[in-house]
Symmetry: C2
Subunit: 100 residues, 2 copies
């Protein structure tokens, strides 16, 4: 089974990045118990004041898809949504490396 990675770019509503980042950090506790999630790291972009980047690595595409069905994850996404102006990202295929 191939591992699955995502680079998500979330542009917060102006001035709301810190609040959004805080909510997403709280979500990482939820994800800590989630099967198949190897890492999920939230970063602030240094050169774009409203942007967060979230890098995720999962055991499989299916494990990621299953997480989106989880009730706590859905509830979190619903709470974050009003703070997000735009969601995008970069499509990547992970090859390997340290911590893979």
């Amino acid at each position: 089974m191939s591992k699955f990675a995502m680079f998500g770019k979330l542009t917060a509503v102006p001035g709301k990045r810190e609040e959004l980042g805080g909510m997403m950090l709280a979500s990482s506790d939820t994800l800590s118990g989630m099967e198949g999630c190897i890492y999920y790291i939230i970063h602030e972009a240094e050169e774009e004041p409203d942007v967060l980047w979230v890098t995720e690595l999962w055991e499989s595409k299916e494990a990621h898809a299953a997480s989106l069905q989880n009730e706590q994850v859905r509830e979190l996404i619903g709470r974050c949504r009003p703070l997000i102006a735009e969601a995008g990202g970069i499509k990547v295929k992970p090859l390997g490396g340290k911590g893979f």
Copy 2:
């Protein structure tokens, strides 16, 4: 001490992405023994045929800087350089998350 993250974007010389990725995967063995490196993952961009993205997380900026003085790392960078057309990336500050 703050952790340090990098999103490096490497554009290979046309047609050389696979070769460059292979060299960098070999380097991850070198980095596996390297103090302070939490992860170092190599990805192919799905929508740009010559692009690799490398995400790195280090215990500190100093640990990352020290790795660049390592003889094996310098030798690897030297071998990769002819395959790289352009090096850039996104400056980020890691906040936390699972696997942090």
